[in-house]
């Protein structure tokens, strides 16, 4: 399908970058900043006129497209039917729920602290300011079409659901998500709703709330769990919920100004005209809030408002034993760790796709060579002619190219061809100009030497082909060697881990160790529930403490395991046993890090070998083709010269050259 933009310029689609219910999104060849949304079936007329209105609005106010995937230009096929539109490419952004859901945030935005969340909230407000300024209503505010980047900037996608007026016509949103729909619109028919700024402001307030309050919805759903009902009844009950559940962030952790904005956005009176706080008010107060956030001295990932106020996050962690902010810890690789075998398969597939250079055994002599050699062969038995003087004939043109051949023969084989060609041409040129007459004997010797050169070129081809095959064989062998090292990583690591983890208690010490219970042991930092978890699993005294038995106990962190093992080892030392170098969890982590590093190195090395192999084959093709071509050229030049000599020896007139 040929696509044209609004200015009838052809638009060439590149790779598919996304796929949804309505169609696909493709790259645009020649413009990395744009993508094309192409509908699976041509959109209905009302959608086309809305997209057209949006493209017109963009042409009038290009800043509308700055932060969102605004339709910029319609795309038509040859028949003029609208098939989709062009919009800005949004890349490297994630849905906003990946940021505000705490556990997901640790994986997707590991460095994001509370001020980052506040900044993102302010950027959401900035987005709404920029749209509301032009009377564009987002309408369908939700957690899937708002995206966040690593720098806390936000983007809006699915902009074809925006509500806007153009040329006296109103284009509605038509859809909506309950969580972000204000009380006055709950249960209404979205297709018939005319959205207002005040409606958008509710959705914005919910998004801001979720960002600041760890993904919690301001209306938790109350006794029925039904969010729609809770919103409809204005049950903004987070304050009472967080009073009951002390592990929720209290509303007092934010500035009273921002708190007042939430109240204003969610109270029953907020349904009145323009009653909810504007995007601009959110923006100003969120910026101010963010500026007041300071790191907590206990934990560099915690942020709180005043230097002397208690840190809400420290308090929550003490209550719940859950960290809302934590850097991802490196998971141990597990006993059955395997290197990335699928990566090896990919590399192997690439390897299979690289052709080896030509096999010397497959060499076939060019037909012109056989013919030239035959022509030279019949000159072998020629006797010197009776009238030597008549054997001075004019030689010109290609004839003296032979001289070039002579010169080249003396040269080292390396520069053979280039020199032969260059000197040959030069000599031939000189000969043509001077039209020297060459004696018969000299001509014969020249032809014979030329024939010798032909043989050398063929030998040279075979020699090069053997050398190239050898390089190819060596590189493939190298790849196999690396691949087997790669596969062996798993077994090598298992041995190393096993050796490190071997943690046996000497039989003589057992009865001594049995005197010390885990429950009462002086193990720093080990909470009562963790001790209980160990008891349940039969680890009652120090004699039961063995690293492998501790590994699977839920809640027991690597640091706790180290502490428990260190406790037992200190008791062993008390009993007079030789103090062993304590093995800690970080030793295991170091082994894992090393193996991940080795895995990467081997993958890189295999990749390099593939690159060398590719270029070796390309070079081989070039060298061999070149030699073959020169052999053919030389043969083609030699044959007429030999034929001419034969003709002359038979007393016939030569062709005039």
């Amino acid at each position: 399908m040929r696509l044209l933009d609004a200015q009838d310029r052809a638009v060439e689609l590149g790779a598919e970058v996304g796929r949804g219910g309505e169609g696909v999104v493709c790259a645009v060849v020649g413009d990395a900043g744009l993508v094309a949304k192409i509908y699976a079936t041509p959109p209905p007329p009302d959608r086309v006129s809305k997209l057209g209105a949006m493209a017109d609005a963009y042409a009038a106010t290009p800043s509308l497209g700055d932060w969102c995937a605004w339709p910029r230009s319609l795309l038509k096929d040859e028949t003029g039917t609208c098939r989709g539109f062009l919009m800005a490419r949004v890349e490297g952004f994630r849905p906003i729920h990946d940021l505000y859901d705490p556990e997901q945030r640790k994986a997707s935005f590991p460095q994001a602290t509370w001020d980052f969340l506040a900044r993102t909230a302010a950027n959401c407000a900035r987005m709404f300011v920029s749209l509301h300024r032009y009377d564009v209503i987002v309408g369908d505010v939700n957690e899937r079409n708002l995206l966040v980047g690593a720098d806390a900037t936000v983007r809006l996608v699915d902009c074809d659901s925006f509500q806007l007026s153009r040329g006296g016509e109103l284009f509605r949103t038509g859809v909506g998500v309950v969580d972000y729909t204000p009380p006055e619109l709950q249960g209404a028919d979205f297709r018939a709703i005319t959205h207002t700024r005040n409606h958008d402001r509710f959705g914005l307030a919910v998004i801001v709330f979720k960002l600041l309050f760890m993904g919690r919805h301001p209306f938790s759903g109350g006794a029925t769990g039904d969010l729609a009902l809770a919103i409809k009844r204005h049950q903004y009950d987070y304050a009472s919920l967080s009073a009951r559940l002390r592990h929720l962030v209290p509303l007092t952790s934010i500035t009273s100004e921002v708190r007042a904005l939430f109240d204003a956005a969610f109270r029953p009176e907020s349904t009145a005209f323009e009653a909810r706080p504007s995007a601009d008010e959110w923006l100003r107060n969120l910026d101010a809030f963010e500026k007041r956030l300071l790191p907590c001295p206990q934990d560099p990932l915690h942020r709180r408002m005043e230097a002397d106020a208690p840190c809400p996050w420290c308090e929550i962690e003490a209550t719940l034993q859950y960290a809302y902010f934590a850097l991802p810890h490196d998971e141990p690789l597990g006993p059955d760790w395997q290197p990335r075998l699928e990566r090896l398969d990919e590399l192997r597939e690439s390897l299979a796709g690289i052709r080896s250079p030509l096999d010397p055994n497959d060499y076939s002599q060019p037909p012109s060579v056989a013919m030239a050699l035959a022509a030279v062969g019949r000159l072998a038995e020629l006797e010197p002619p009776p009238d030597a003087a008549s054997w001075y004939v004019r030689a010109a043109g290609g004839g003296l190219a032979i001289a070039g051949g002579f010169t080249a023969l003396g040269a080292p084989a390396v520069g053979l061809g280039m020199l032969a060609g260059g000197v040959g041409l030069w000599l031939a040129g000189t000969a043509l100009r001077s039209r020297r007459q060459v004696p018969w004997g000299t001509r014969l010797a020249q032809v014979r030497k030329q024939a010798g050169l032909l043989g050398e070129l063929q030998a040279e081809w075979l020699g090069q082909a053997y050398r190239c095959r050898e390089v190819d064989r060596r590189l493939r062998g190298e790849f196999e060697h690396l691949a087997s090292q790669f596969r062996d990583l798993s077994a090598l690591r298992a041995v190393e881990i096993e050796r490190l983890g071997r943690d046996t208690i000497h039989q003589d010490l057992r009865s001594f160790l049995h005197q010390f219970t885990v429950e009462a042991g002086a193990i720093p930092g080990l909470s009562a529930p963790k001790r209980q978890a160990m008891l349940i699993r039969g680890i009652v005294t120090a004699a039961d403490v063995e690293r492998p038995r501790l590994a699977g106990i839920p809640g027991l962190t690597p640091a706790a395991i180290d502490a428990v093992v260190a406790w037992r080892q200190s008791l062993e030392a008390q009993a007079g046993a030789a103090r062993k170098q304590p093995v800690t969890q970080s030793h295991f982590a170091a082994v894992d890090a090393n193996y991940l590093h080795l895995q990467q190195n081997l993958e890189d090395a295999m990749g390099r070998v593939l690159g060398e192999l590719r270029s070796a084959t390309a070079t081989a093709d070039q060298v061999l083709d070149d030699l073959y071509g020169r052999t053919e050229t030389l043969a083609a030049q030699l044959r007429p010269l030999a034929d001419d000599l034969w003709t002359a020896s038979q007393g016939l007139p030569e062709r005039n050259r």
């Binding site: 849905p95 729920h97 990946d98 859901d101 705490p102 556990e103 997901q104 957690e143 899937r144 998500v177 309950v178 969580d179 760890m214 993904g215 919690r216 919805h217 209306f219 938790s220 759903g221 006794a223 769990g225 039904d226 969010l227 729609a228 009902l229 809770a230 009950d237 919920l241 009073a243 009951r244 559940l245 002390r246 592990h247 929720l248 209550t319 719940l320 034993q321 859950y322 809302y324």
Partner: protein, 223 residues
């Protein structure tokens, strides 16, 4: 006491998304043994995979598996899709369908209490019953309980019959017309279920169930 840490507090602190609970009540009586159980097992694994592909459904849909074959057993308690580990199923014994349905209703009720005490919103729970036989226990009380729950919109109950299932009993138990699985189309059935749950967990609509009809010629069921 006004300050509490309810059961599941960490789970809901880590992921406060509204939940969409779904109980799979599966007949594992001895008649299910063999290919039928294998296909069912594969269907469940695929069910998880398909839901994992949806970033929101992955965090919102919670699956519990209740099996009834001989006795009623909670093979897997409620877990969000990413934490759900499809249990291995074993076929054995009779078909205590009545006890299983009551068990599923109970499971849902308990789960809803946990959501409420943690201040987590939820969608109408789904109970998906699958059986291939004749109930071996009284089922009338279960049928009444399902009707009551449906009337209060407390849950949505779906019944699917396989092979020689007694469709008349299923029609008594389920308010919605029970569906008859075509042949061994377990995977198609679970694909329909995951698609339905995805759209429910996105829409936020609590009253209507935006479902496609599986009892069409190319679908996996017949009425």
């Amino acid at each position: 006491m006004s300050e509490q840490i309810p059961f599941g507090a960490i789970e809901f602190a880590a992921n406060p998304e509204p939940r969409c609970p779904c109980v799979l009540a599966l007949d594992t009586s001895s008649s299910m043994v063999g290919a039928r159980l294998d296909e069912l097992q594969r269907g469940i694994a695929q069910f998880k995979n398909e839901l994992m592909g949806d970033p929101l459904a992955r965090k919102r849909v919670e699956i519990a598996v209740l099996t009834f074959g001989g006795g009623v057993r909670l093979a897997s308690d409620f877990a969000t899709v990413d934490a759900f580990d499809p249990p291995a199923l074993h076929a054995d014994g009779l078909t205590p369908l009545g006890a299983a349905v009551l068990g599923a209703l109970d499971l849902v009720k308990t789960r809803k209490n946990i959501y409420r005490s943690n201040g987590i919103a939820y969608y109408r729970p789904w109970v998906f019953l699958l059986t291939d036989g004749e109930p071996s226990d009284p089922w009338q009380a279960a049928a009444r309980a399902v009707r009551d729950a449906e009337a209060q919109r407390a849950l949505a109950f779906f019944a699917v019959g396989v092979g020689e299932a007694n469709m008349d009993v299923l029609a008594e138990v389920s308010v919605r017309a029970p569906l008859k699985l075509k042949g061994m189309m377990f995977r198609e059935m679970f694909q329909w279920l995951s698609t339905s749950l995805k759209s429910v967990s996105h829409s936020g609509l609590t009253d209507e169930l935006p479902l496609s009809n599986p009892a069409v010629p190319e679908g996996w069921a017949k009425l």
